[in-house]
């Protein structure tokens, strides 16, 4: 038996607060939000990625992950998503190690672009006011975001993803208890 740890202390209020933080992050691409819920998910999952998955994943959202059995068991216990080894079948993908290529994920269809997958990408750190220049809906002029430990070639892959609009993959960057979102509508240029 793998060592299970508790999920949200208050399942209702903590999930609502985390959902609100994700919503804020998605509406203001590149702005760093803090996940208030104090949870201790199993390693290597950070608390922000754990809280995001507890808020978003459920029995209707197939999940692909590379974080190991302890994390899979923890998520299965607390929110019960079907764990899939086919990344193209996943609604959510959790990447803690080497990030999968964005093209491997489901981008939805032109009729149902909402079916595009969300990649929850755990990175080493998020720093505002420096690095990438983000423009697009939800951003008045531009936002700067430096992503420590971003996958190699991410900006080029992102340009391809953005060209598919309205189809595409959304990315949620998590580091410690901070999150920042890259919805498919945002444009990234190297700063």
């Amino acid at each position: 038996m793998i060592h299970l740890s508790p999920g949200f202390a208050d399942p209702v209020l903590d999930a609502q607060a985390s959902f609100r933080a994700i919503l804020e992050a998605m509406s203001r691409p590149g702005r760093i939000q803090r996940m208030e819920a104090r949870i201790t998910p199993p390693a290597p999952l950070c608390s922000a990625a754990g809280a995001a998955l507890l808020s978003l994943a459920d029995a209707d959202t197939p999940l692909w992950l590379d974080a190991g059995d302890a994390v899979a068991e923890w998520l299965r216990f607390h929110c019960g998503p079907p764990i899939t080894s086919e990344i193209s079948a996943a609604r959510f993908a959790l990447a803690c190690g080497v990030a999968p290529s964005l093209e491997a994920l489901d981008v939805g269809t032109d009729e149902d672009p909402q079916l595009g997958a969300t990649l929850i990408l755990q990175v080493a750190g998020l720093v505002a006011g420096d690095g990438w220049r983000l423009t697009g809906p939800g951003i008045q002029h531009e936002h700067r975001l430096r992503v420590l430990g971003a996958p190699a070639g991410f900006v080029a892959a992102w340009a391809h993803n953005q060209a598919l609009f309205p189809r595409g993959v959304d990315v949620l960057l998590c580091a410690g208890d901070s999150i920042a979102a890259l919805p498919r509508s945002v444009t990234i240029t190297e700063g």
């Binding site: 038996m1 060592h3 299970l4 740890s5 508790p6 999920g7 399942p11 068991e73 216990f77 607390h78």
Partner: protein, 152 residues
């Protein structure tokens, strides 16, 4: 849950979980009080009440149908290395917590024998006796139609 266990521990666990689920919170607490106090558990899933759909099947080979919903309270907590689960009918949170605590303790080989002896076996005997009394009372009212026919 992926557990690499042989079927027999599952059968034993099913039995004690059934006994714990049928007992009342007062009985569980009273039985537990006779034991040396258990270590403090860590709550994995606080008691929560919900509905489960009970499905039925007519005659054993008919199509499954939804019989109705029943109120169930579940709880999960961890005692050392063992995770105790409880699914009990009704909305008694204290009972769900006690049943989960005892399920965890019963999986621990150091505590298994004492818990079995002090809690599960007396409760199982009491439940068996209550069932037997009920069955006897019902049997006393049984009408044998064959006897009535020959009495005439």
């Amino acid at each position: 849950m992926t557990q690499s266990e042989t079927p027999s521990p599952h059968a034993a666990r099913q039995k004690w979980m059934a006994v714990l689920a049928r007992a009342s919170a007062e009985d569980l607490a009273a039985r537990l009080a006779t034991l040396p106090p258990l270590p403090a558990p860590e709550t994995l899933r606080a008691p929560e009440t919900g509905l489960v759909m009970v499905r039925g099947r007519a005659g054993g080979d008919g199509d499954a149908f939804n019989l109705g919903e029943m109120t169930v309270t579940r709880c999960a907590l961890r005692l050392g290395a063992h995770v105790g689960h409880a699914y009990v009918a009704g909305r008694d949170h204290a009972k769900a917590r006690l049943a989960a605590l005892l399920d965890a303790a019963l999986q621990d080989s150091a505590l298994h024998a004492t818990c079995m002896q002090a809690v599960v076996e007396p409760l199982a005997a009491a439940q068996q006796a209550a069932r037997a009394t009920e069955a006897r009372k019902a049997a006393a009212t049984r009408v044998d139609f064959f006897t009535m026919a020959t009495m005439r």
